[in-house]
């Protein structure tokens, strides 16, 4: 059975159709990319999967469980985590707290225990604080643990966002333009990093990207959106030569 399955997902903003008849099947362990020109509806697809928007029509299943209609935090709990196009860290909180917040559903103590710092509080806090620090170490961010997130350099902020997403314990990771604002050398490193993260955490990854280099380099399958509609899908090599894709990116007659 597919890990994630989207059937005929359609979404309207008022009268505007942002995504129409979107279908996707992700097998466990796959790395799939969504590409398309600006405004093609790529981020909207992410927002539909993660419950930020509720799909007007269609259904999305994770491990056979319906996602449409659930709140974002419930969907996260089922095992989907994401990053954002424009970094959305908790800027005025420490790097450690950024990660600890993502463990929200793992910490098991009641509100009474939190008010009085009794019972399971101490043991649970200790366990997950150490897990958070281990995770940060894994991402070479532990030396910044008590810095405010906003004080990190850009590249570290991107890494922290991925670390934070992983703390929620996802099966599926959604990356929204992870290479935005990076130079070719950094993109090269990012590609290795993504492959490494997938292997280490046993993840399935769906990513949105404009950088063809990255997309063609690491994605096993691609899906191309334009004006909310899927215009092509297939292996990177197929997509590269697909006439409709060239048309969408370069305009009509762009293939000449």
């Amino acid at each position: 059975m597919a890990l994630l399955r989207a059937d005929h997902v359609t979404h309207y903003f008022g009268g505007l159709c942002a995504v129409s008849d979107f279908n996707l099947e992700l097998e466990s362990g796959e790395l799939v990319g969504i590409i398309g020109p600006n405004g093609a509806g790529k981020t909207t697809v992410f927002n539909l999967i993660t419950g930020v928007y509720k799909a007007t029509e269609g259904s999305i299943h994770l491990d056979g469980q319906e996602l449409v209609g659930r709140k974002p935090n419930a969907i996260t709990q089922l095992g989907i985590a994401r990053t954002f196009q424009n970094i959305r860290l908790f800027k005025d909180l420490t790097v450690l707290d950024n990660v600890r917040i993502a463990y929200y559903n793992w910490l098991k103590y009641s509100s009474w225990e939190s008010l009085l710092h009794i019972g399971r509080y101490r043991a649970q806090e200790e366990l997950y604080t150490n897990k958070a620090l281990d995770l940060l170490e894994f991402f070479k961010l532990d030396q910044f643990a008590d810095e405010l997130a906003k004080n990190l350099p850009y590249g570290s902020q991107r890494r922290l966002e991925i670390a934070r997403a992983l703390a929620t314990g996802p099966k599926l990771l959604l990356l929204d333009e992870p290479a935005a604002g990076m130079n070719p050398r950094e993109i090269e490193q990012l590609m290795e990093f993504i492959l490494w993260v997938r292997k280490e955490f046993g993840l399935t990854i769906l990513l949105i990207e404009h950088q063809m280099r990255l997309v063609m380099g690491i994605c096993e399958r691609l899906k191309v959106l334009d004006f909310g509609a899927t215009i092509a899908e297939g292996l990177p090599a197929e997509i590269r030569a697909h006439p409709k894709v060239l048309e969408a990116y370069l305009g009509e007659g762009g293939d000449q």
Binding site: T43, N47, V52, F84
Partner: protein, 291 residues
């Protein structure tokens, strides 16, 4: 039925005063996304300058109105320059708290000079006509017409002049528009001048209609005008006018047909109900959240 028409007239009078004050809140909010909590107190200062102009200078109605509008308009510009501008890039609440501080300052400063409520002398010979059992006073007519006149004027300024266009542009995007050569500070000053002088006009008219004034009169009326602005959709000028008339009507009608102590309760309960169904007010639009 006559009673109803009589009360409608009163509602129109109170509503136009709320609407004028609400405009000041909404204009400043539109441009700086800041709630100027001192605005209700500027309304009070307007009423006091009417008193000063009438008693010490012996001026008739129109000059007192002009004096109080100009003085308070300048005061508004000064307050923005001294207290709010340094905080433009500070956390948003700092500016709000500063505004609360400025409001308290205005109240208590006035209190030092006028510890007791003051009586406004009669500035307009009030004649009352009786039309089909409804008594209409010339004062009511003047207040309603003048308020509507001022609102039409403001609407024209905002829609038809360069300054108005700049105001709308800045409320659209505060970061980009100044880069296109629109002088942000000048436009903000103009907004404060317009908004607070309308508040002062409301103060003058309120003082004529209810001729006992005190330094704390601006608190409750200010909050209610603010609520009017929210009901209409804060940041929206026409919304503020509509909101003012709605609140005026609700208050007068509740007081007319129920025990008057229920007035605040019903007004605020209605506000809550409205916000449940239209969370962004009557004419307000939700700001799209980008994810």
């Amino acid at each position: 039925m006559t009673y109803f028409f009589q009360q409608s007239l009163n509602a129109l009078q109170l509503g136009s005063i709320y609407a004028l004050i609400a405009l000041g809140y909404t204009m400043v909010y539109g441009i700086l996304t800041m709630i100027n909590f001192a605005h209700g107190d500027l309304f009070m200062v307007g009423a006091f300058f009417t008193f000063i102009a009438a008693v010490y200078l012996g001026l008739p109605f129109v000059p007192t109105l002009v004096v109080s509008m100009i003085v308070v308009g300048l005061l508004g510009v000064l307050i923005e320059r001294v207290a709010y501008r340094p905080l433009r890039n500070a956390p948003r609440v700092s500016a709000v708290i500063t505004a609360l501080g400025v409001g308290l300052f205005l109240e208590n400063f006035t209190l030092v000079f006028y510890p007791y409520p003051q009586h406004i002398p009669t500035l307009i010979q009030n004649t009352t006509w009786n039309i089909a059992g409804v008594s209409i006073s010339s004062l009511q007519i003047i207040i309603i017409l003048l308020s509507i006149g001022l609102m039409v004027m403001l609407d024209l300024i905002v829609r038809k002049t360069m300054v108005g266009m700049a105001m709308r542009a800045i409320s659209w995007d505060k970061a980009i528009i100044p880069l296109m050569g629109v002088p942000l500070n000048l436009i903000v000053s103009a907004t404060f001048a317009l908004g607070t002088s309308l508040g002062a006009a409301a103060g003058t008219m309120y003082a004529l209609a209810f001729p006992v004034i005190d330094p704390y009169m601006g608190i409750m009326i200010g909050w209610k005008a603010f609520i009017s602005a929210v009901v209409g959709g804060i940041g929206n000028i026409r919304g503020a006018m509509i909101g003012g008339f709605i609140l005026g009507t609700v208050e007068i009608m509740v007081a007319a047909f129920m025990p008057s102590t229920y007035r605040d309760f019903v007004a605020f309960a209605l506000l809550l109900v409205l916000l449940i169904f239209r969370p962004y007010g009557i004419l307000g639009k939700p700001r799209p959240q980008k994810v």
